[in-house]
């Protein structure tokens, strides 16, 4: 394929992905808006007013970056895993497999689709948070870089999950038993400084902790971890998951017999 044709193919995949999640917006865009509003009301307003300050900020301001990041992570992951697995299930993935679209473009298209939904939901949640607190921006480049890399990383995670999944149960196991616990324990609702030394050490192996804290640094200027290490780790994970995804595609794992 010529570079122009390759670009057209990439644009086609991304457009189809965006069309898919906007067509079913009550399933994709509305639920995180409702859930995060409840978090803002219950944890931020009702409980947060009794907690007082966290990391030098009122509790609502402290949890907003984490909640935005949580919605970006879950939405990016969910978009790719459900879209790609549905294509496998309905066999419409064959439309792509018979076409000359290179594997790298297939992967890039799905990751871009996941990022579009993750960032879209992140924007919705950010706008909703303005009804509850005043957002400041401490470091815009760090904030943007963190959210972009994180949504790309979890889109890749969703892609690998979908490639390996053989039934619908398989696409809910990782979000339920891995992603959600790691997110809740990733410093969304608390600073790990509150934990005993042992649990602080355990928390440091949770990759989501780095993403939440890097994003929080971009907004509030406070972080439990070194932001450079956080961004470096996210970047490293992106490379590793990209290599795994491309290998699975080349082997045709679950999509070619």
């Amino acid at each position: 394929m010529t570079p122009q044709a390759t670009l057209t193919a990439l644009n086609t995949i991304v457009t189809r992905e965006v069309r898919r999640f906007t067509r079913i917006w009550p399933q994709t865009l509305l639920p995180p808006a409702v859930t995060m509003t409840l978090y803002f009301v219950i944890f931020g307003n009702l409980i947060g007013s009794r907690i007082g300050q966290m990391g030098g900020y009122d509790y609502m301001s402290f949890i907003v970056p984490g909640l935005i990041m949580m919605s970006v992570i879950t939405s990016s992951y969910a978009n790719v895993v459900s879209s790609f697995f549905s294509m496998k299930f309905q066999r419409s993935i064959e439309e792509l497999l018979v076409s000359p679209v290179p594997n790298l473009v297939i992967l890039a298209g799905y990751v871009a689709g996941g990022m579009a939904r993750g960032l879209g939901v992140g924007l919705i949640v950010t706008l909703l948070s303005l009804g509850f607190t005043k957002l400041q921006i401490h470091n815009l480049p760090v904030m943007i870089l963190t959210v972009l890399l994180t949504s790309a990383l979890f889109s890749l995670g969703g892609f690998i999950n979908a490639m390996l999944a053989t039934k619908f149960d398989d696409i809910s196991i990782v979000p339920t038993f891995v992603l959600t616990p790691l997110t809740y324990l990733g410093g969304v609702f608390y600073s790990i400084q509150l934990l005993p030394a042992f649990w602080q050490g355990v928390s440091m192996v949770n990759p989501i902790l780095y993403m939440v804290n890097a994003f929080r640094y971009g907004i509030l200027g406070v972080s439990d971890v070194d932001v450079r290490i956080a961004l470096g780790m996210i970047f490293l994970f992106i490379i590793i998951l990209s290599v795994i995804s491309l290998r699975l595609l080349k082997r045709g794992k679950g999509i070619r017999s």
């Binding site: 086609t12 309905q90 419409s92 064959e94 439309e95 497999l97 000359p100 017999s257």
Partner: protein
């Protein structure tokens, strides 16, 4: 002239050790209307699956218009349009979107993709349904949608796996006419079908595959010439209680009481009519007992099964 499709020593062994293809050699000339026939599990879909990149081959070579799929996969795919046996589109997407999206995968910009999609949806009688979700279409419409999708990038080789399965006779005939027209305009067509009448009506060359091996690969004309004896069913003006003895011909009554006569190609039909005339029996109408290709097909497959049995 470069062959539209060339298969050399194609082998496929699945993970469980099942040998689906045991060294297939096959060529399809450019402009041909070609049928790949075989019983269920013979290896037809595996063969086409490898050509279309849906199945990984174990060994052997595949080239489409001279483009080897190991070294020039993208060029090979550009020349190929595929209509699979089972519906494989997103049932929730609109008809028009399915076709234009497929064009986009081939790098066709959206304005051209829309023009091409409109042209084929109109040709296949689906233009009025362009805004309907695919799940709302009837079975026949879904089949036509898959043909429109396969043609939207103007491939030189169109592969159809059981294109008229479950389609009523009227629609089947209109699809035949459409495919014949595509072939006349230069598109090479390869199809698999269970309707041997379809292969006999449409195709110029035929390969018969069974148990992962090609049993026959020849022109339809040459294949049909191998059929030395045909059976005709005669409807007569009077009910006969037993088959009349016609010198030189085998006769019998079938389950419905109609007269069946075996006629060798060298004999011709005149002798049958002369002898029946002498017996005072008048023939009202006549038809061949079975599809000629079907008889040959069954004979070849049975012979192959017997040989396979004796090898074991």
């Amino acid at each position: 002239m470069t062959n539209a499709l060339q298969l050399d020593g194609l082998v496929k062994t699945y993970g469980d050790g099942f040998e689906a293809l045991k060294g297939i050699d096959l060529h399809v000339e450019e402009g041909d209307f070609f049928a790949l026939l075989g019983p269920n599990g013979a290896g037809k879909s595996t063969t086409l699956g490898i050509v279309c990149s849906l199945v990984n081959k174990t060994s052997g070579r595949v080239s489409v218009f001279g483009n080897d799929i190991d070294t020039a996969l993208s060029a090979a795919k550009m020349n190929l349009g595929v209509v699979p046996q089972e519906f494989n589109f997103n049932q929730f997407e609109k008809v028009f979107d399915i076709v234009t999206t497929q064009a986009g995968y081939y790098g066709i910009p959206l304005p051209r993709a829309r023009e091409s999609a409109e042209r084929y949806l109109r040709k296949l009688g689906l233009w009025d349904k362009r805004d309907s979700p695919a799940r709302m279409l009837s079975g026949g419409m879904k089949r036509r949608l898959m043909i429109a999708r396969a043609l939207v990038h103007e491939p030189r080789l169109l592969i159809l796996d059981e294109p008229t399965a479950g389609v009523d006779i009227e629609l089947r005939r209109s699809m035949w006419a459409f495919l014949e027209d595509m072939n006349r305009q230069g598109t090479t067509i390869i199809l698999t079908t269970h309707y041997l009448e379809e292969a006999e009506a449409l195709c110029r060359n035929i390969a018969i595959i069974d148990q992962g091996r090609i049993l026959k690969h020849t022109s339809k004309r040459a294949l049909l010439q191998q059929l030395s004896v045909e059976t005709f069913v005669l409807d007569t003006d009077q009910v006969v209680s037993e088959a009349p003895r016609l010198e030189g011909f085998e006769t019998r009554l079938n389950d419905e009481g109609a007269l069946e006569v075996d006629v060798a190609k060298s004999q011709g039909m005149n002798g049958v009519f002369i002898r029946l005339e002498q017996l005072g029996i008048k023939v009202i109408s006549m038809r061949t007992k079975a599809n000629r290709l079907e008889e040959l097909f069954l004979r070849l497959v049975e012979e192959n099964a017997r040989e396979a049995g004796s090898r074991r």
